[in-house]
C-alpha cells in the first residue's frame, strides 16, 4: 500500500513538473521564434529589395535558411503562391499563418503583427516595400524584447510552480 502511494505521488510530481517545464519552455521558444522571424524578414527584404526576386521564389529561398515551425510556415506560404491557389498573396499568407500558428509559440499580438504585414507584402514598389520591411522588423524587435522580459520573469516561476504544485497536490491527495 505504501509502495503504491509513493509511486503515485512520484507520478503526480513528475507530471506537474513536466507541465511547468513546458509552460516555461514556451516563453523561451517564443523568443527564439520571434528572433528567427526577424531574421527571415531581413533575408526576405534583401531578396526583394536587392535582387527583385519574385515572391514565391524569394520565400522559398528564405525558408531554406529556417527551421522548425517558422520554416514550415514559410514553406507553406511559398507552396500556396506557387500553386496559385489563393487569389492574393495576402490570402495565402493568412491561410498559411492560420495553419501553422498552433505549432508556434507566438502570442495573439505577434500573430496580429504578422497578419498586418501579409496584407502589404509584394503589393507595392520597392521603395515602400522596404519601408514595410523595416517596420515589421522593428515591431518584431519590440516583441522580442517583451518576450525576453516575460521569459526571465516567468520561466523560473513556472518551473518551480510545476514542481511545488506537484508536491502540494501529492500531499493533499494522499
Amino acid at each position: 500500500m505504501v509502495f503504491v502511494k509513493i509511486l503515485s505521488s512520484l507520478v503526480i510530481v513528475m507530471c506537474c513538473s513536466f507541465l511547468g517545464l513546458q509552460a516555461a519552455n514556451a516563453y523561451a521558444l517564443r523568443v527564439k521564434e520571434l528572433r528567427m522571424l526577424r531574421m527571415a524578414f531581413a533575408q526576405l527584404e534583401s531578396e526583394v529589395i536587392n535582387y527583385a526576386t519574385f515572391l514565391p521564389e524569394a520565400v522559398e529561398r528564405v525558408a531554406a535558411l529556417l527551421h522548425g515551425g517558422v520554416k514550415e510556415f514559410f514553406c507553406d506560404f511559398s507552396r500556396r503562391l506557387q500553386k496559385r491557389s489563393g487569389d492574393t498573396a495576402a490570402e495565402a499568407w493568412e491561410k498559411a499563418l492560420n495553419c501553422w500558428k498552433k505549432h508556434l509559440h507566438i502570442t495573439m499580438e505577434d500573430t496580429q503583427i504578422l497578419l498586418t504585414f501579409g496584407k502589404v507584402l509584394g503589393v507595392s514598389d520597392r521603395e515602400s516595400q522596404q519601408r514595410y520591411f523595416q517596420i515589421i522588423q522593428s515591431q518584431l524587435g519590440n516583441q522580442e524584447q517583451k518576450a525576453e522580459e516575460a521569459c526571465l520573469k516567468y520561466q523560473t516561476m513556472y518551473k518551480n510552480l510545476g514542481v511545488l504544485g506537484g508536491l502540494a497536490l501529492a500531499i493533499i491527495l494522499l
Binding site: V48, I49, A52, T53, F54, L55, P56, A58, L81, R84, D87, T88, A89, A92, G122, V123, S124, D125, R126, Q129
Partner: protein, 330 residues
C-alpha cells in the same frame, strides 16, 4: 499565308487562364472553341463587362463564357478580380515589375502581352509608375507563317544576309515579321540555304518560349536566349553559339548600340526593330539616329497599315536611302 496549327489555336489558354482568378477563368474557358481559336484580345475593366475581340468582331461575355451582343447579362468585373489579376500577372511581386509598369505592359510566359491602364504617377515629367490599375488588355499574339515570303529576297544577296532594321509605329507587325524572317533564314527558302540563327528574346515575344522551348516556329537552326536582356544576350550569343545572324526586337538603349557594334565586329549580321514611323522620324530620336548615322543597316523596312496591319510600306537601301519597292505590299 496561314495561321499556324501548331500549337493548336487555343494554346494561349494554358498561360492566360493562369493569370486570371477562378471566376474569370470559368468565363474565359467557356468561350466557344471556334471563337477561342481566332481570339486576338481580351479586355478586362473594373466595374464593366469583359469584352473579347477577334477577326474584326467583338462580344461581351456571360458568366459561363457565352457570347453576348449586349452587356445586360454579361459578367461584370469586380475590384477583387482586378486586384487578383494584378497579383497573378506580377507573380505576387509588384516590386519586381516596376519597369514593366512604367512601360505600360507586362509580358506573360510565352510572350503574351498584358497592357495596363490606371493612374500614372509622374516624377520630373516622367512616368514613375502606374497606380490604381483597373484595366487590362490581354493580347493573344499568333505567329503568321509566311508573312516574310515576299520580302526575303530583299534581305539577302547570294549567301549573304543584310543587316536589317524594321521600323513601324506600335502594333504594325514588327515582331510578327522578324519571327518569320528568323524561321526562313534558319530553314532556308528557294535560292537560300538555311543558316545558324540566334534570337535574343528579352520579352519572350518572338519565340514564345515555354520553359525554354519555343512555342512558335522560329526555324530548325535557331537558338533562343529567352528572357535575356538584349545587350548582354547579344554578347553571350556571340561568344557561345556563333550564329550567322542575330535577331532581336525593339532596340533603343545605348548599350544595345554597343552590343550591335560588337556583333558587327564579330562578322555577325543583325536583324532588329524599333518604334518609329519612318526614317525621318527615326533620325530625330537620339539613339536611333546614332545607329542610322553609322550606316550600319543595309536594309531598312518600314511597316504600316495602308493595306491593313502588317503592310510593307517601304524597303530602303541603307546606304543610298532609295526605296526598293514600287508600291506597298502585303
Amino acid at each position: 499565308m496561314e495561321y499556324s496549327r501548331w500549337p493548336s489555336g487555343v494554346s494561349w489558354k494554358r498561360v492566360i487562364l493562369d493569370a486570371l482568378p477562378e471566376n474569370i477563368q470559368r468565363v474565359i474557358d467557356g468561350i466557344p472553341q471556334n471563337i477561342a481559336e481566332s481570339l486576338e484580345e481580351i479586355r478586362i475593366r473594373e466595374g464593366r463587362p469583359i469584352v473579347i475581340h477577334g477577326r474584326g468582331k467583338s462580344y461581351y461575355l456571360g458568366t459561363d463564357g457565352g457570347l453576348l451582343s449586349s452587356p445586360e447579362k454579361a459578367y461584370y468585373v469586380t475590384h477583387r478580380d482586378v486586384q487578383s489579376i494584378l497579383q497573378r500577372i506580377s507573380n505576387y511581386s509588384i516590386y519586381a515589375v516596376e519597369e514593366e509598369l512604367r512601360s505600360g505592359y507586362i509580358t506573360l510566359r510565352g510572350g503574351y502581352r498584358v497592357g495596363l491602364a490606371g493612374k500614372a504617377v509622374v516624377e520630373g515629367g516622367k512616368i514613375k509608375t502606374l497606380k490604381y490599375i483597373n484595366s487590362f488588355n490581354i493580347r493573344i499574339s499568333r505567329e503568321i507563317i509566311g508573312v516574310a515570303d515576299r520580302i526575303m529576297r530583299y534581305l539577302v544577296s547570294g549567301t549573304e544576309v543584310y543587316h536589317t532594321l524594321v521600323l513601324s509605329p506600335p502594333q504594325m507587325g514588327k515582331t510578327t515579321l522578324i519571327r518569320d524572317i528568323a524561321r526562313q533564314l534558319s530553314d532556308g527558302f528557294p535560292g537560300f540555304r538555311g543558316i545558324k540563327v540566334g534570337i535574343v528574346d528579352e520579352r519572350s515575344e518572338i519565340a514564345g518560349c515555354f520553359q525554354g522551348i519555343p512555342q512558335n516556329n522560329v526555324g530548325l537552326q535557331t537558338d533562343v536566349l529567352d528572357a535575356c536582356p538584349k545587350a548582354e544576350g547579344i554578347m553571350m550569343l556571340i561568344r557561345s553559339m556563333s550564329p550567322a545572324v542575330i535577331i532581336t526586337d525593339e532596340i533603343g538603349k545605348p548599350e544595345d548600340v554597343e552590343a550591335i557594334e560588337e556583333a558587327l565586329n564579330a562578322g555577325i549580321k543583325i536583324i532588329t526593330t524599333a518604334h518609329s514611323s519612318d526614317i525621318g522620324d527615326a533620325q530625330r530620336r537620339p539613339i536611333l539616329s546614332k545607329i542610322l548615322d553609322k550606316k550600319i543597316f543595309q536594309r531598312i523596312i518600314v511597316l504600316g497599315n495602308s493595306l491593313g496591319v502588317g503592310t510593307i510600306e517601304k524597303i530602303y537601301d541603307g546606304h543610298t536611302l532609295n526605296n526598293l519597292l514600287d508600291r506597298p505590299i502585303r
